[in-house]
């Protein structure tokens, strides 16, 4: 059977963007939370809450756009638990995050019972007029669904806010040295609450991608470990939204590549192919950390440490 290699490569790149998009949303949100000093390992739970809330809303109203908005709101509301427990009560962030994962799995399963077997509205692929005509890049980036296009807007804005605005500076300083930021009149509590809630909203949107775009159905525990992958991706991205996009597409691409090598029937051991995404990640992690040895990988200094003014 003849498969046009060029067509296949374009298909792989297109799939890379598609499978990278859900983790990209989640990653952007987590970068903000971590940049402000709050680690939230409850991504898996927040994704599931977003996936079921988005699906239920989209299904009920018959409009996937409503689904995405509700998913973001639900993710943010759910992450409020984490914000309250870790910022106001200053409890351990890991424990609270794990709680969020368990709770989110349970809640989504419980409320999802009624949605089992239903097929909801979803985002279909559509070509962006003009841009989709660009050879290769047009097919790869501009023959996707609306949520992928949404990510093209979210990523640059997230990068711009983080590095070019006063707010971004405040977020980064709260994550590096909350005491200093506090003394300069920045509200540590408000910034951290805002970042955790934004993280929850983005995780909700990432989850909704699975139930409204990737598939148009609800399946229990459909996040399939993507929340955990994202935690690694944040480190790979060096807490930088632009590099998060690169990492997400790379990870998605490795998976898309190994599936298509199998589909064509090339005789390469499958277990080797399965390892590909992870080998790639490790390799690039090593390279990335070498290049940035001088700037210490870029982890926020106050990450994971609750801030209490009186403890200064």
């Amino acid at each position: 059977m003849e498969v046009d290699l060029g067509v296949l490569v374009v298909a792989i790149l297109q799939a890379a963007v598609r499978s990278g998009t859900p983790i990209l949303f989640v990653c952007i949100g987590e970068i903000y939370a971590e940049r402000s000093g709050v680690l939230n390992v409850g991504l898996e739970g927040m994704m599931l809450v977003g996936a079921i809330a988005g699906f239920t809303a989209g299904f009920t109203v018959g409009n996937p756009v409503v689904g995405v908005i509700v998913a973001a709101a639900a993710g943010a509301a759910f992450s409020l638990i984490h914000a309250f427990v870790t910022i106001t009560l200053r409890a351990d962030q890991i424990v609270s995050g794990l709680t969020l994962t368990i709770l989110g799995t349970g809640i989504s399963g419980f409320f999802g019972k009624a949605m089992i077997g239903q097929v909801g509205p979803g985002f279909d692929k559509f070509a962006v007029p003009g841009l989709a005509k660009i050879p290769v890049l047009g097919t790869v980036f501009f023959q996707q669904d609306a949520m992928v296009y949404l990510s093209y807007v979210v990523v640059p804005i997230a990068w711009w806010v983080m590095y070019k605005t006063h707010l971004g500076l405040a977020i980064r300083s709260v994550g590096e040295s909350p005491a200093t930021a506090d003394s300069l009149g920045v509200s540590v509590t408000r910034i951290r609450y805002g970042c955790v809630l934004f993280g929850g909203a983005m995780a909700g949107v990432g989850g909704a991608y699975l139930s409204l775009a990737y598939t148009t159905m609800w399946i229990e525990q459909m996040s399939g470990g993507r929340g955990w992958i994202t935690l690694a991706l944040v480190i790979f991205a060096g807490w930088n939204p632009a590099r998060a996009a690169l990492g997400a597409y790379l990870f998605g691409g490795a998976d898309a590549l190994q599936l298509r090598i199998q589909a064509v029937g090339l005789d390469i051991p499958t277990y080797f192919l399965m390892m590909l995404p992870y080998v790639l990640t490790i390799t690039i992690l090593v390279l990335a950390s070498r290049a940035s040895l001088r700037r210490r990988l870029g982890a926020p200094a106050a990450l994971g440490i609750p801030y209490a003014r009186e403890e200064r």
Partner: protein, 375 residues
Amino acid sequence: MSRQWRSAAFTVPAVFLVVAALALAGCGGGAPEEAAPEAAASEGVAVKAAFVYVSPVGDAGWTLAHDNARLKIDELDYVETAYTEAVPEGADAERTISQYVRQGYNLIFTTSFGYMDPTITVAATAPEVTFMHCSGFKTAANVGTYFGRMYQPRYLTGMIAGKMTKSKVLGYVAAHPIPEVIRGLNAFALGARSVNPDVKVHVVWTQTWYDPAKEREAAESLLDIGADVIAQHQDTPAPQQAAEKRGNYSIGYNSDMSSFAPAAHLTAPVWNWEVIYRKVVDEVHNGTWTSYQYWGGLDDGVVGLAPYSDLVPQEVRDMVEAKKAEIVAGDWDVFTGPINNAAGEVWVADGESMADGDMLGMKDLVEGVVGTVPE
């Protein structure tokens, strides 16, 4: 507990949260849900049957098929049932099974291959309880096994796919490389090539039972290389939707998946566990149960086909029904020679039939499958 607690004042709400989370997780995905006790029939043993599931009932696939059957037998007035879903294979399974023993259940169904050793271990401590383990090979005086000859309806769906394809490329989204999956893939390929000898079946292994996004992507990869009918072995209908969106055909699995892809879904090889559950429950009720290994086929109805889509022409249905009748009558079975392996060597000689033991340990691929079994 974490050593990083700031003070007791913060520990209390956090611990409360964890407990609340676990309790809720239980509601959604873990706690045994007991049906209302029903009056035992005057004669025979009242059956308290417990089911241990590997995935949530909400998987729309494997576990749902088991649970649909559980609900059917729960209607019998001498039976009450309970289940626990999403039980990991291994130590957790052992705990769940022994919990049911302590609660006085006298019949326990464990519905995943990985529950084999936990079932045997717990069974040794509870000789008065009857255990039935799905898809395994270890038995004891109080442990039987049950499974179905899913390869038979797989073959029939292969015939349909072989008739419906235009590109002569079929895509098979395979799960883990174990004999059960390989057997289904081979049967599908044999069926397709029996009606269309030029057909190739391309296979992609996802090494998952349950990851809709990955399974959808695997189906996409097969569609990308020109497959126009997609079959699958995972528990989620995600590959069906991939085929639907591209305007291609699909074959479901486990239960009728047509609602997920009405314009693509042709039919599906499905489980009808009620057949075996009814049989075992009645045996325990009447006190006639003894350990056995059940491997029923189309003749028992424990496996079958989902309703045909309108897309399947009448002549194809007639052809499939004729073949089905042949299998049900016991005149012919799927792994009857001549069958060549993927290397083109004779695997089953003309006129010979593969023994059950060889089928249960199947590792090779038949001619016409493009791909390899991961080692």
